[in-house]
């Protein structure tokens, strides 16, 4: 019946057109000049009239003209307008050139899209080209250096690890400062489960005008990830295969003593400490020169050449009514440390179906499975594969020999290793396992309804389900532990659901005034549960599940439950005047379960203003300037950086008062709660301009921002007489301000050769405006403090004054500037007022050269300022008191005789390391050639014979070279170098990509 009505309707509308058709009908096809593909949806208008049409899914159009002088205007977003006089031809095929101007580029924003020109906030977006085919599972880490204002840190090489992002500085204490991730409109955690090849674009929303539509979760910025869609037309099949090897980038970065150096070192330490190394009673310091020793390079034994493999199959296409994108992916990486690897299987289907002209729906389904092997306990400490190798004496063999006591021979491995508390790092890979198995599903459905022109109503439902289980097992033959084997299992599951209903209305008030309105509501809920169980004392190695042990593992039974809900209404209005003045306003009201009833609702808003000066005659007349836009925004975003139940006063089950022979459960006080707890609030100002010169061959964006984050949530110590030690409260304020510069240039564009460059740099200044009342210094740990008036997280420790040439003992500065041997008399102070843990500035410089089918591109990332505390180095510079653990070769520069000038103290087995000092701080600046890629595409004359659209080969190197003064293995892993750091590998891969 509906179809019949539609038919009648079309008949009524179309018949008069047919009647008037004695004029003339022009038909044709519109294609893109770049790739020759048909362009659907191109506007075809007769100039000076209201008559027009759009091309269909195959790029075809048909339009009726009155006479030969009529001029057809073809226009399409992202392409230059094209005009042609009809003349006598009845078929006019048009090839549209892509617009060089970035101005009308469509950008993804919260709950919709807009054009770059009309956008008044601050965002940067990275397209799929930069992300796809990277030989790495973590898309986020590859964005390092790509975008101004986006600081990507904690990059290490552990298979399956993910890096973190900080947008425009740290504005919180209680949270991580990590932005909100939104995948296809659904707030979802970023993790190693995602397939980067599915990504169409990643957009970083950086200021309030861009983010405050996300309200309470937006203060740290928002990362929008959009996945690919199919295009109507021929089905396109894309296949990629990639294989590569990984090696530790600088294996010499942390060099340890060999056997003879070790012997010399500890003998000297023993003698200086009054211990006789030739006396068998000296324990680990009994090191006669005549001893029978091995020379084991433990580091070498626990590391290897890793591999990375990746296979992707994607298909996309569809008809006018239905388009699809489908992909399958497999990623496989073995790490440079033995015992670590990661595999991922992914599948995605994105489907859009048009039911009628007024109704369509959009279904997306993503699923993944991951498998990861990690070091025992996640690495670090004596029981880490890599960290254990640093501790173990090179004089010892990893394998048992005839001298190994039977009680210390575990499955042929030597556990007579007192220098590492009997842990054998080589045996770890064989006798322990730490295995993760993860699953994730992300289904979503969205309905779009267009009841009247310019009005769009949509509703969506989306779910994010993940399940991870971790099985840890230690063989009973791993004799460093005395429990006779251990089996643990932890599991966690999380479900997020998100529902949206949104209305969008666009209308032109008059020719020069247009208004776009959006209003919507959202409900969001997340629930996560995790549990743990374990047992010890195993009879068999083969039966090694968490329950198979014959004794209970104390403290290994655990369950936790978290979750929260969020309800929101939001709206946005964008007003445009004459395509040159843009006014933006947005508002959101959020209610959250992480606050008490009186404070759970918060309002967030933003205003933005954009002014395209280049559309004014006085600028338009300057040829050099092709684009100039000023913009400014101000707004408030929030942060619910509080634990799910922190506001509640709670009791917990526990405090059992067990009587002899009779269990007697109890409840105990748990959390004092704080019903006055409220949102962290961030007020953000952004001003900047976009400029394009020489027909946009040079484009640049400069932005300045000032962010004040107030009511920061933190634990506030309270009187212990309350029964609690601290209460969660809104206590601190932080300010971030900074400047960001991005320049993109087309340096050479001559014939087949093109050279383009992209450069960005960001500087951020962080300042703690206030801590809790009357507190100027808040000590966070034994070497870090927040200090009012200075950046957050200052290194706070005594200053090292070097070694006393007379005695060889370490010296520290007192508050009066004198030197002292007595560490406790040293002045504890901020190490350098600025910069501190954060860099002074950072950025990226990327160049790309193309010539015919060849393409060479390289990205340098740089970071300047900031210091890393080398805790690991400290542990291996123990001045002879390392208990037999291996030490760094730098120790060989030790003081030996009065008058020696060195920064390494005298060796003494009885020396006690006094604690942190500036001796262990090192500049964290570096420049790294993050990515270098050479690719070649076969000419289309050859590929067409092969029945392909494209066939290309690529050679790629990640982390090929790093320039830094930093001495450790990995300058990019974090602010503290410790034993659990995983070296960042140099990866070299070869890839092949075929497109049908």
């Amino acid at each position: 019946m509906k179809k019949l009505l539609l038919f009648i309707f079309l008949l009524i509308v179309l018949v008069p057109v047919q009647v008037l058709a004695q004029q003339r009908t022009i038909t044709g096809t519109v294609i893109s000049s770049a790739d020759g593909e048909a362009l659907p949806g191109v506007n075809v208008v007769i100039r000076g009239t209201m008559t027009g049409t759009t091309t269909d899914v195959d790029g075809n159009y048909s339009i009726t003209v009155q006479n030969q002088d009529a001029i057809l205007v073809f226009s399409f977003l992202g392409f230059n307008d094209y005009e042609i006089v009809v003349g006598s031809s009845s078929v006019i095929d048009v090839s549209l050139e892509e617009s060089l101007e970035m101005l009308d580029e469509v950008v993804v924003i919260g709950y919709g899209e807009t054009t770059r020109k009309s956008f008044t906030g601050s965002l940067t977006s990275v397209e799929s080209e930069s992300i796809k085919d990277i030989p790495q599972q973590d898309a986020i880490s590859m964005l390092q250096g790509k975008s101004a204002g986006v600081y990507v840190s904690n990059i290490d090489g552990k298979p399956g690890s993910t890096s973190s992002i900080l947008i425009r500085g740290l504005g919180t204490f209680n949270g991580s400062g990590s932005p909100l991730y939104v995948i296809d409109g659904i707030p979802a955690a970023s993790s190693n489960t995602f397939n980067p090849n599915d990504i169409e674009s990643v957009t970083f929303l950086k200021d309030a005008a861009a983010t405050s539509i996300y309200g309470s979760r937006a203060a740290d910025g928002v990362v929008l990830i959009t996945t690919k869609k199919g295009k109507a037309g021929k089905t396109n099949i894309d296949f990629t295969a990639q294989y590569g090897v990984t090696n530790i980038e600088n294996p010499k970065g942390f060099q340890l003593l060999n056997a003879s150096q070790y012997l010399e070192y500890y003998r000297e330490a023993a003698i200086n400490g009054g211990i006789d190394p030739d006396d068998p009673a000296s324990g680990y310091l009994y090191l006669p020169l005549s001893g029978d020793y091995y020379d084991t390079d433990w580091f070498d034994l626990v590391t290897r050449t890793g591999t990375t493999q990746k296979y992707e199959l994607a298909a996309s296409g569809g008809s006018e009514a239905t388009t699809f994108y489908f992909s399958l992916g497999y990623y496989d990486e073995t790490g440079v440390v033995k015992g670590s690897d990661f595999k991922r299987y992914t599948g995605r289907l994105n489907l859009i179906h048009k039911v009628t002209d007024k109704l369509d729906f959009d279904v997306k389904v993503f699923g993944s499975a991951t498998r990861q092997n990690d070091e025992w306990g996640g690495g670090g400490g004596r029981g880490g594969n890599l960290s254990g190798s640093y501790n173990t004496s090179p004089l010892k063999s990893p394998y048992a020999d005839e001298n190994t006591p039977a009680t210390l021979n575990g499955a042929g491995f030597n556990f007579d290793l007192p220098s590492n508390a009997q842990h054998n790092p080589v045996a770890l890979a064989d006798l322990t396992s730490n295995f993760y198995e993860g699953y994730r599903a992300l289904p979503s459905l969205r309905l779009n309804y267009y009841p009247i022109p310019n009005l769009k109503l949509w509703a969506s439902a989306a779910f994010d389900f993940s399940y991870i289980t971790r099985k840890e097992f230690m063989s009973k033959y791993y004799l460093a532990e005395t429990e006779g084997g251990r089996g643990d299992q932890t599991w966690s599951q999380a479900l997020t659901s998100n529902y949206n209903a949104v209305a969008e209305y666009t209308f032109n008030i008059s020719q020069d005034h247009s208004l776009k309105l959006l209003a919507g509501a959202e409900a969001y809920k997340r629930i996560s549960e995790d549990g743990a169980a374990g047992s010890v004392t195993f009879g068999f190695d083969a039966i090694n599940n968490f329950a198979a042990g014959q004794a209970t593992s104390v403290g290994k039974l655990d369950y936790d439950y978290f979750g929260g809900t969020l309800l929101s209404v939001f709206s946005r209005a964008d007003y445009t005047y004459g395509e040159k003045l843009f006014v933006h306003g947005s508002f959101r009201r959020d209610g959250s379960s992480v606050f008490g009833p009186d404070n759970r609702w918060g309002n967030f808003y933003a205003f933005g203003l954009g002014y395209s000066l280049s559309d004014e005659p006085f600028i338009e007349s300057i040829d050099m300037i092709s684009n100039l836009k000023l913009k400014a925004s101000y707004g408030i975003a929030g942060n619910p950086n509080s634990g799910d139940f922190d506001w509640r006063k709670t009791y917990s089950p526990g405090g059992a008062y067990n009587l002899p022979g009779a269990p007697n459960p109890g409840t105990v006080i748990n959390n004092p709660g704080n019903q006055f707890l409220k949102w962290e609030q961030s007020s953000q100002l952004n001003i900047g301009f976009d400029i394009g010169l020489l027909g946009n061959r040079i484009t640049a964006t400069v932005e300045y921002y000032d962010i004040r984050s107030i009511d920061l949530i933190s634990e506030r110590p309270i009187s212990l007489t309350s029964g609690y030690s601290s209460i969660i409260d809104n206590i601190a304020q932080i300010k971030n301000n900074g400047i960001e510069l991005t320049i993109n240039t087309v340096n050479v564009s001559a014939g087949d050769f093109e050279w383009t460059s992209s450069f960005n740099i960001s500087a951020n200044k962080n300042e703690v405006l206030s801590l809790a009342t009357d507190v100027d210094t808040l000590i966070i740990s034994d070497d870090v403090a927040h200090i009012k008036g200075q950046p957050a997280y200052q290194w706070f420790m005594p200053t090292y004054a070097g070694v006393d040439p007379a005695t060889g003992r370490p010296l520290y500065y007192t508050s009066t500037g004198e030197t002292t041997f007595n560490y406790s008399n040293a002045e504890i102070k901020v190490q350098g007022t600025y910069p501190t843990i954060a860099p002074r500035f950072y950025g990226g410089f990327e160049n790309s050269f193309t010539f015919k089918g060849f393409r060479l591109s390289g990205l340098f990332y740089f970071r300047y300022g900031g210091k890393i505390y080398r805790s690991l180095y400290q542990d291996h510079m123990m001045s002879g008191s390392g208990g037999g653990g291996n030490m760094c070769v730098d120790e060989l520069d030790r003081w030996q005789n009065p008058g020696d000038i060195t920064s390494v103290p005298k060796l003494d087995a009885t020396y006690v390391d006094p604690g942190p000092s500036s001796r262990w701080l090192e500049d964290a600046s570096y420049i790294r050639l993050r990515n270098l890629e050479l690719s070649y595409s076969l000419p289309s004359s050859i590929t067409s014979k092969l029945g392909m659209l494209d066939l290309s080969f690529s050679l790629r190197a990640l982390n090929l070279i790093t320039f830094t003064k930093f001495g450790g293995l990995n300058v990019s892993s974090g602010v503290t170098e410790d034993g659990s750091d995983y070296p960042v590998p140099r990866t070299i891969t070869f890839g092949i990509n075929a497109n049908f």
Binding site: T565, S593, R600, R648, N658, N664, P665, T721, G723, S725
Partner: protein, 498 residues
């Protein structure tokens, strides 16, 4: 109009639904309403209170260890580790290198956790009607615990009661409510005693039913693990005793001593072979077991088991007893010298046959030292304490004859010589007998303070910091209040010397 009403109705329903949706409840934690809803809930919370008495900071370890280690009863055993975990188990308790940072830093919070938990229950009892007898019993136990815990806090963190003539010296905050975020100042000693008397008097009056017998208990079975009428009386007796009010102390102490409910336990030597011992060694059978120990005289006793959790310091199985032969604290030679050779109480102190060298350790209440090696009974109150209290009071303000009779019951049981002295010498002998009988049960330091005496440690004291001799008055008798309290609470005044 109907439409408007309908819309208002829908909106109201929607906003109610919103608040409901946003009230996301925890599943591993209890809200205050859920935690103390029913009588059964209140019982669980009260169990939680009793379990907090077992915490490592309070009777579970710190408080109990300090009371003897910090006096002439303590010594560092010769085989104490020179470094490492065991070395670090409360070293200050003996060395008296006291500071606000890490000495008795667990007792202060653990004591106040007990008080806050008690106050939460008392607030709930006021707000809700429960069964009358049940409510009275719970209230009485809570009040007794509140009085005892505050009193115990003063024993560590304040000078003795008579330190100033008008008791105007600072004691600890006496709290009737848990109000996180408030900054209570210290009450004077006079105030703390006034409040403690109010609490304990009320507890006693509730526990003593109208016919003079004890109020019925909702629990079945033995009540030595919970406060009853006699343990409440015991708290009040201690208060009087520490004040020097020997008349009233005697009255209360005699309520226990003459009740007939408790009789002195036998001390029967018996051979036992604990793990790590190759040969059997004599212990006292009544002590060498899991709770209840010395059952016939136990008034209030705790069974502390490391496996029950919250014993950060591995309880004191490692401090007194065997831990690869190197306990962190032990009995002093001067203490051991007090026992005559025939005294069966010598079997409380045992030579441990471990490397590097045998050393005499506290084996007074070793639990079973068997399958449940980390569990043992801790005396909070037992009859012997009150027999000795009555004796001391009689010797000071009453009948010396009765004092001697009471004393004889203690010495006879132990196989020690009878005491026959009179006058001040009798008082001295009772104090010494008290030191011998109650050693390492949490009394010596507080007796010395009560008597306003210092102490001199014997030749086995190897400290070089001058703390082998402590003269009264001393700052070492009012321990530093933890720095976290001083930092967080602007009204908190630190004790002199820290």
């Amino acid at each position: 109009m109907k439409k408007i009403i309908f819309i208002i109705f829908v909106l109201a329903g929607f906003s109610y639904a919103c608040e409901d949706y946003l009230d996301f409840q925890p599943k591993t934690l209890l809200t205050p309403e859920a935690a103390l809803y029913s009588e059964e809930d209140v019982v669980l919370a009260l169990n939680g209170v009793y379990s907090s008495l077992q915490k490592a900071g309070y009777l579970g370890t710190q408080f109990t260890v300090i009371a003897d280690a910090a006096t002439d009863n303590g010594v560092w055993p010769a085989d104490r580790e020179s470094s490492g975990t065991n070395h670090d188990r409360l070293p200050f308790a003996y060395s008296l290198d006291l500071n606000a940072y890490n000495t008795a830093d667990e007792f202060w919070p653990d004591g106040y956790i007990t008080i806050a938990s008690v106050n939460n229950i008392l607030e709930r009892l006021e707000a809700v009607e429960f069964d009358a007898d049940f409510e009275k019993r719970v209230k009485a136990e809570c009040l007794a615990i509140r009085a005892m815990t505050h009193f115990d806090l003063t024993r560590i963190f304040a000078q003795d009661y008579n330190f100033t003539a008008d008791q105007s010296h600072l004691a600890v905050p006496y709290l009737f409510k848990s109000e996180p975020g408030t900054d209570p100042p210290r009450n004077t000693m006079a105030e703390v005693y006034q409040y403690a008397f109010a609490d304990i008097n009320e507890a006693i009056s509730i526990l003593q039913a109208s016919d003079g017998t004890e109020l019925s208990n909702f629990r079945s079975g033995d009540d030595i693990y919970f406060f009853n009428y006699y343990s409440a009386i015991g708290v009040r007796a201690r208060l009087y005793f520490y004040m020097g009010d020997y008349v009233n102390a005697l009255d209360d102490s005699d309520v226990i001593v003459t009740s007939g409910r408790y009789i002195l336990s036998d001390y029967t030597p018996g051979l036992q072979t604990p793990p790590a011992f190759t040969d059997p060694v004599l212990f006292l059978n009544e002590w060498f077991k899991l709770a209840p120990v010395v059952e016939s005289e136990a008034i209030f006793q705790l069974e502390v088991d490391e496996d029950d959790g919250d014993f950060a310091n591995r309880s004191f199985i490692d401090i007194f007893l065997a831990n690869d032969g190197n306990a962190a604290h032990g009995p002093s030679a001067d203490l051991l010298a007090l026992y005559e050779p025939a005294d069966v109480r010598n079997y409380w102190w045992v030579d441990e046959p471990a490397t590097p060298s045998p050393d005499r350790h506290v084996y007074k209440y070793p639990g079973s030292l068997g399958s449940n090696a980390d569990a043992h009974a801790i005396q909070v109150m037992r009859l012997s304490e009150f027999v000795l209290m009555s004796a001391e009071c009689e010797a000071r303000v009453g009948s010396e004859a009765r004092a001697l009779t009471l004393l004889k019951s203690i010495t006879d049981r132990a196989g020690a010589s009878e005491i026959t002295s009179t006058g001040t010498q009798l008082v001295e002998d009772i104090i010494t007998e008290r030191r011998k009988e109650l050693a390492w049960e949490g009394h010596r330091l507080f007796d010395l303070k009560r008597l306003q005496r210092g102490f001199v440690r014997g030749s086995d004291c190897t400290l070089t910091n001058g703390n082998c001799t402590v003269n009264y008055p001393t700052n070492l008798y009012a321990w530093p209040i933890p720095i976290n309290e001083i930092n967080a609470n602007p009204n908190m005044e630190q004790n002199p010397g820290y």
